[in-house]
Symmetry: none
Subunit: 226 residues, 2 copies
C-alpha cells in the first residue's frame, strides 16, 4: 500500500504510533513542496493533517493538495475541540475530521470508513511475496506487474503456499488444507498443479516453489537462509 501523507513533520508521536499499530505506512511532510517531492509513484494513499497546532499551515496545505489535477483523497483532518466552530465546510478541504487528541480506535475507524467511502482501496487484501501479488478480492494474481491467469485450484493452492512462505507442506497436508478436509484422492494431483503453477510463473520465477524430496513442497526461501 502506498503511504499516507502526514502533517506536520515531524508527526506527533501518538499519531505515528497509532498508524503503525494498524499497519498504515506513512510519511510526514512540512509543506506542499515536500509533499510533491516525496510523493510516491502511484500517489499518496490519502492524507492525515493535524490542524490542532499549526492551523494556518494545515489549512493551506489542504487547500494546495486539493487544488491539484489529482486531488489528495481521502483527507482526514485532526482538529482541537476549540476549532470546531471555525470549520469551513464550503471549500471542500477535507473528507472527514476527528477531534484531537484522538482515540486510536476512532482514528482507525474513520480511516477505514473513509477508504471504504471513497472507494480507494479498503486496503485490498493482498498476499504478497517478492514479485508475486495475489488480490484476494478480485481473484487476480500478478507477477512482476503482469497479470497471471490462474484457474481456481491453482489460485487457491498458490494462495495457501504464498501465505506460508518458507514452510514445507506434505502433499497430504496440502490436500486437506487446500482441497478440503475430507478430500480423498491421489496425492499426485498436487504434483500436477505444482507443475502448472511453475509453468505459469515463468522460468524466471518457477523456483519460487521448491521440491523437498520425499517430503513435499515449499514456497519461497527456506527460513534458515537456503
Amino acid at each position: 500500500m502506498e503511504p499516507l501523507l502526514l502533517f506536520p513533520d515531524p508527526a506527533p508521536p501518538e499519531l505515528a504510533q497509532a498508524l503503525d499499530l494498524v499497519g498504515y505506512p506513512w510519511k510526514a511532510v512540512t509543506d506542499e513542496r515536500a509533499a510533491t517531492r516525496n510523493e510516491p509513484e502511484d500517489g499518496w494513499a490519502g492524507g492525515v493533517v493535524v490542524a490542532a497546532n499549526d492551523a494556518e499551515g494545515a489549512f493551506s496545505l489542504c487547500r494546495a493538495l486539493r487544488k491539484r489535477d489529482l486531488p489528495l483523497e481521502p483527507l482526514l483532518l485532526l482538529i482541537s475541540g476549540a476549532q470546531l466552530g471555525d470549520l469551513e465546510l464550503r471549500d471542500d478541504l477535507f473528507d472527514d475530521f476527528c477531534l484531537y487528541p484522538f482515540q486510536p480506535l476512532e482514528l482507525e475507524a474513520r480511516l477505514k470508513h473513509l477508504f471504504w467511502r471513497t472507494g480507494r482501496g479498503t486496503r485490498p487484501e493482498l498476499v504478497e511475496y517478492g514479485p508475486l501479488v495475489l488480490n484476494l478480492e478480485t481473484y487476480q494474481a500478478g507477477i512482476d506487474g503482469h497479470p497471471l491467469d490462474l484457474t481456481y485450484m491453482e489460485y487457491e493452492l498458490l494462495k495457501f503456499l504464498a501465505s506460508h512462505p518458507g514452510r514445507v507442506f506434505t502433499r497430504e497436508t496440502l490436500l486437506s488444507r487446500v482441497w478440503g478436509y475430507e478430500y480423498y484422492g491421489g496425492a499426485r494431483t498436487v504434483d500436477v498443479h505444482i507443475r502448472r503453477l511453475r509453468a505459469k510463473l515463468g522460468e524466471e520465477h518457477a523456483s519460487l516453489i521448491q521440491t523437498v524430496r520425499s517430503v513435499g513442497y515449499r514456497f519461497g526461501q527456506s527460513r534458515w537462509g537456503v
Copy 2:
C-alpha cells in the same frame, strides 16, 4: 426544513436539546414501522441513530431504512467507544459516525458536513465506470452516450456491480446484496440476469462483466495498487 429521524424513542434528552439548540427539527421513532408511519411527505431530511444503548435495534433500523427505494440519507450513527471495533462498513449502513456521549459542537459540525457533502454534488448521484453511466435519481442507464433499457432487477444488479468495480462476488453474495437478505431461490437466476445484462451492454462492452469460474462474477478491471 423536513425533520430528522431520531432513534430511539424517546430520544436522549441531550441529543434532543443539542438539535433544538442549532435549529434542526426532529422526530423520534421506535422502529421501522414508526419511521414509515411518521415519515414526512417529502421524506426525512436525514437520520441520527443512537446505537450506544440498543445496538440491535439501531442497526436493524439502519438496515431497513437503507434498503428502501429512497434510502434514508444522510445517516449519522452515534456509538460508544466500546463499539468502535465492531463497526461493519461493507453494508453501507451509515454515512458518518460520532462517539457517544458527544460534544454538541462536534455533532453540529458533523451534521453540517454531512448535509454539505450529500447536498452539493460531492455525492455521486451517478455511478460511472468507463462508458457506463447509471443515474440513480432517474433510474436510467446509458453506455457510450446511448440509453440502455434495463429492467428493475437488471438495473439493481448492474448498479451493485458497477459500484464495486474489480471485486468478485459469488452468486450467493449477489443474491443477498441485490435481491435481499432473505431471498431464497436458485443461484442460476443470477446467471440469467448476467447474460441479459451482457446482451444489452452490447458485444463491445459485454466483457465489462467477467466470469470468475467456480467463484462468481466481476465487473470491470481490477485495481492493482490502491
